[in-house]
């Protein structure tokens, strides 16, 4: 396995239930303040906590992109217009040319909420709504195509949809396209918005908690679903050595079960080791791990064991899903940006909501956000189908 050529993170934007933009997420992390709320959501008939981005309601899609109109693409637009991200993209377009900037994005459900609404419409009126547009909303590629049109980018790209690892794997795809000369820079990102398919789907697996989610807690009993979006501009590190770098990726499969992780975390161990090999770093070089840490019994148990196998029990880590909820296809980008913010802001996020640590896990996450300056961090994301991805960021 070849060592990776580091790539610089030259711009980023993040939107989730903690608020719009980096400053909101930093505030939430510093103040140990969750974006999750126990609240009703139209169409939902059970109690849970949700991470909702209320600002979606107040924005409109650009008229020329009307056919892409759905909650997922509106959330994408909200993020692209936050933190001056679209301005940084304009500058990259000038430097490289619009056809030399790739777009690699992840989502698990794209605009399926539109199809859910259409079926509900049909249930009452026997017909789909007139403006239903399968390809530009429901189809997974809607996100990539919308981002490309919105930003005026004509480079290569695709949408990755591997459940909850989707927007972690975009870094590996973008890296490969840049080093093989198919583009000079890339937008990587991910968006997932609330929809009934995932809310009722996870509930059918009895994985949704009625309470606020408590990763690594002895009494943890499931996830809270949150919506989120995030994007990063990735460029060769040679353009700006002062930025945090993307240093390594590891991708693997559990080859075990569709919805339950490998009990010993075999696939996760491969992903973490491959990421370190590509980054030319050893386990002792990783000073913080942002956990997948969903707060289901099985994820946290398997992940803790995989961490123990790679790092031993002294690893500094936390799950930030207590802040944002599980943002599914957007978890990779959300937690990558949180890891990058940790490096930039000299903070290590706390494992919010953990009241009684589950000692059987042996891995003890940081309880509260702590001031500390570190060089290299890892983030883990694991998805249904046994799909794993670990990423390393550092100075």
């Amino acid at each position: 396995m070849k060592a990776m050529t580091p790539m610089a993170i030259t711009a980023k934007t993040i939107v989730n239930s903690c608020g719009l933009g980096e400053a909101s997420t930093i505030d939430a992390l510093r103040n140990n303040c969750s974006g999750l709320k126990q609240r009703a959501y139209e169409g939902l008939n059970f109690d849970t906590w949700l991470g909702i981005v209320d600002e979606i309601e107040s924005i409109e899609i650009e008229p020329k992109l009307e056919r892409y109109s759905c909650r997922n693409n509106l959330l994408a637009q909200l993020a692209l217009q936050t933190d001056n991200f679209h301005v940084s993209v304009e500058s990259a377009k000038l430097r490289y040319g619009a056809e030399r900037v790739g777009v690699f994005v992840g989502t698990s459900t794209s605009g399926i909420a539109e199809t859910e609404s259409a079926y509900s419409h049909m249930h009452h009126y026997d017909t789909f709504p007139d403006n239903f547009d399968l390809l530009h909303t429901h189809n997974m590629s809607s996100l990539q195509s919308y981002v490309q049109y919105f930003l005026g980018l004509y480079g290569p790209g695709h949408t990755i949809s591997t459940a909850c690892s989707s927007s972690a794997k975009v870094f590996a795809a973008a890296y490969r396209h840049i080093v093989s000369g198919q583009c000079d820079a890339a937008i990587v990102g991910g968006v997932d918005s609330l929809c009934m398919s995932t809310l009722y789907g996870f509930n059918s697996l009895q994985l949704v908690s009625k309470e606020i989610c408590r990763p690594f807690d002895a009494n943890r009993n499931g996830i809270n679903i949150g919506e989120a979006a995030g994007f990063i501009l990735l460029e060769p590190a040679t353009v700006d050595h002062s930025k945090v770098k993307f240093k390594g990726y590891g991708e693997s499969s559990d080859a075990y079960h569709m919805s339950t992780p490998h009990p010993e975390g075999d696939g996760a161990v491969i992903a973490m080791n491959d990421a370190m090999t590509r980054a030319s770093l050893a386990a002792t070089d990783i000073e913080y791990v942002n956990l997948h840490g969903t707060a289901t019994r099985s994820n946290d148990q398997a992940e803790a064991l995989s961490l123990f196998r790679v790092f031993g029990d002294k690893v500094v880590c936390s799950s930030t899903k207590g802040f944002t909820g599980h943002t599914l296809g957007a978890a990779g980008i959300t937690e990558s940006i949180i890891s990058i913010l940790a490096l930039e802001q000299n903070i290590l996020p706390g494992n919010l909501n953990m009241q009684a640590w589950d000692e059987t896990l042996r891995i003890k996450p940081l309880e509260v956000t702590t001031n500390r300056s570190v060089e290299n961090v890892m983030t883990n994301n694991f998805g249904f189908g046994g799909n794993n991805c670990s990423l390393i960021f550092g100075w």
Binding site: Y119, H123, F132, P156, G157, T162, S197, Y200, S253, G383
Partner: protein, 264 residues
């Protein structure tokens, strides 16, 4: 980027029996529609097999059509590409959610992920390599091939690329909106080194707007080429089977196309 094409497999209506499929791809016989019989993914344990859908079974059967003499099984990564994923599952979930009870079964939900076929394949093969599942709408075949070639180029090892599209059930309202008329799966095993059954090398050039999309040499295959996003890959499969040095133009994003040069 140049890689070896080490094996190919295709399944579609009328392209089921290997000998007949070969004759059609060589242009010796005309393609006629013939329904795909029920495919049984013997590679899976019985409990997992029961949970599969026709789309998943199509993708798995196509991969099963590849020879097993790959040098590099454990070092295999996979690229699964499908424009729309599993309409049957979307239809069942959205129908259930439009009723008052909103009951979804756990199997229905875990089959709803775009990487469902990839998940089942890894369970069957026990291969723990990298696995991605993508969509690029109408450009899905070319995007998937590009990602597979790029992975072989940058990360090395063997890359198993499988592209598959499956129509919506005719009873589903989604059928009216879907562009997919026939099921089709294409699997290609790619590597940076040659294997015993290597069909040749493949080089990607582009994308360019000026290239003109290839049609099937065997014109009777045209309905299959135009019946789904994965259909765009049919001229490539034909060229690989015919073993003649040639170029094939495959559509990509927007109006762009890639030129694929094949050497045998």
């Amino acid at each position: 980027m140049t890689v070896y094409i080490n094996d190919i497999s295709v399944i579609a209506p009328g392209l089921i029996d290997r000998t007949i499929t070969r004759s059609i791809l060589l242009g010796d016989k005309n393609w006629v529609y013939q329904e795909i019989p029920k495919l049984i993914p013997n590679m899976l344990p019985a409990n997992e097999r029961r949970r599969t859908t026709p789309m998943i079974r199509l993708a798995l059967a196509c991969i099963q059509g590849l020879s097993n003499d790959c040098n590099d099984l454990q070092n295999t990564s996979t690229v699964f590409a499908s424009s729309d994923g599993d309409f049957e599952i979307s239809d069942k979930i959205c129908t259930a959610l439009s009723n008052d009870e909103k009951m979804i079964s756990p199997t229905l939900f875990h089959n709803s992920v775009h990487n469902s076929a990839a998940g089942y394949w890894s369970i069957a093969s026990l291969i723990k390599g990298a696995s991605t599942s993508i969509s690029s709408g109408d450009a899905t075949f070319m995007s998937g091939l590009q990602e597979a070639v790029t992975q072989a180029e940058v990360d090395g090892g063997t890359v198993l690329f499988v592209a598959y599209d499956y129509p919506a059930p005719s009873s589903s309202p989604l059928d009216k909106y879907s562009l997919i008329k026939y099921p089709l799966a294409i699997a290609i095993r790619i590597g940076k080194t040659a294997e015993n059954k290597t069909l040749g090398t493949l080089k990607l050039e582009g994308p360019e707007n000026d290239f003109k999309e290839s049609v099937c040499r065997n014109l009777s295959l045209e309905p299959l080429r135009t019946a789904s996003p994965v259909g765009h890959g049919m001229p490539l499969i034909e060229a690989l089977v015919r073993r003649a040095r040639m170029q094939v133009i495959i559509p990509y994003l927007r109006d762009e196309k890639f030129r694929i040069s094949i050497s045998h």
